[in-house]
Symmetry: D2
Subunit: 92 residues, 4 copies
């Protein structure tokens, strides 16, 4: 992963953790259920953006290098991982 | 929302926030991209479980009461909210 | 389910089936992979819209009636079903 | 896309179209809303499996070739497409 993606991901994850702490406060204040659920969904969307950014960087760095180096096993492993990550997005 | 659901949700959200802090640490340690993405996806699944639990409680308490009280406007508003929350799960 | 929702759902599902036949034609014509995937995703979104519409109608008719009739078992069963459907959207 | 993936995808899409026709029949027979929704969700899952299979083949053929050929523009375009497809799975 390139440095910009990494520092950006750290920044967004810190923001997501802060967001979750805000949701905990909402629950402690007995706020309306649907408002809590909407905040949880917003956090999930923010996390999806982080995953997409990391995947994009991964494809452009590690995967590109692995394919160019033509190590068949390593390439195979990496492509299988991409498919697995893609499959998971249909499950979570 | 009933008390058990609320305290359980707070507990799970604290765990999710801790999980995200762990992912930040993984990024700082320059861990492998795909491992980071998998941990983000696991956090999203944990957050989905919290939403589902809150929705379930909401249906059994607030929504049931609103429908039994037969206030048409309030009932309408609540049912629209449920559909919105459902629609969002297809988008995030 | 009310009549309008039902006829609308039938119409949209016929359109989705036609869309899928178009995708089969794309594959037979050896069209570009990503274009095929995008058409499959568009079909899935169209199907989500149908589910949401049916759920919305279900809440306003069957579920509202069940809750007003105050048959505790029937109400319980219906609310559990809603949560299950919601959970599934996080899995498919 | 390799030939096996293509014929397998055509087979599965025909099955999905048949499944949707079955759901239309359920609606015409005025079957229970939640049963209809569950069948729609099952169709969506089946479509996800087709997308994953095509993406997997695409990565192993077109993308691998593009990266090995080292045409930077073509590579860039293809990797951006993968990220777009991944992003869409978080939206539909």
């Amino acid at each position: 992963m390139d440095e910009k993606t990494r520092s950006d991901a750290i920044h967004r994850l810190k923001s997501a953790a802060g967001h979750i702490n805000g949701i905990i406060k909402m629950l402690e204040d007995d706020r309306y259920c649907i408002d809590v659920i909407k905040q949880i969904q917003a956090t999930q969307t923010a996390l999806s953006r982080v995953s997409e950014s990391i995947l994009d960087s991964h494809l452009r760095t590690c995967v590109t290098t692995a394919i160019q180096d033509s190590d068949a096993d390593e390439r195979e492993r990496m492509l299988t991982e991409i498919t697995e990550v893609f499959r998971y997005t249909h499950k979570s």
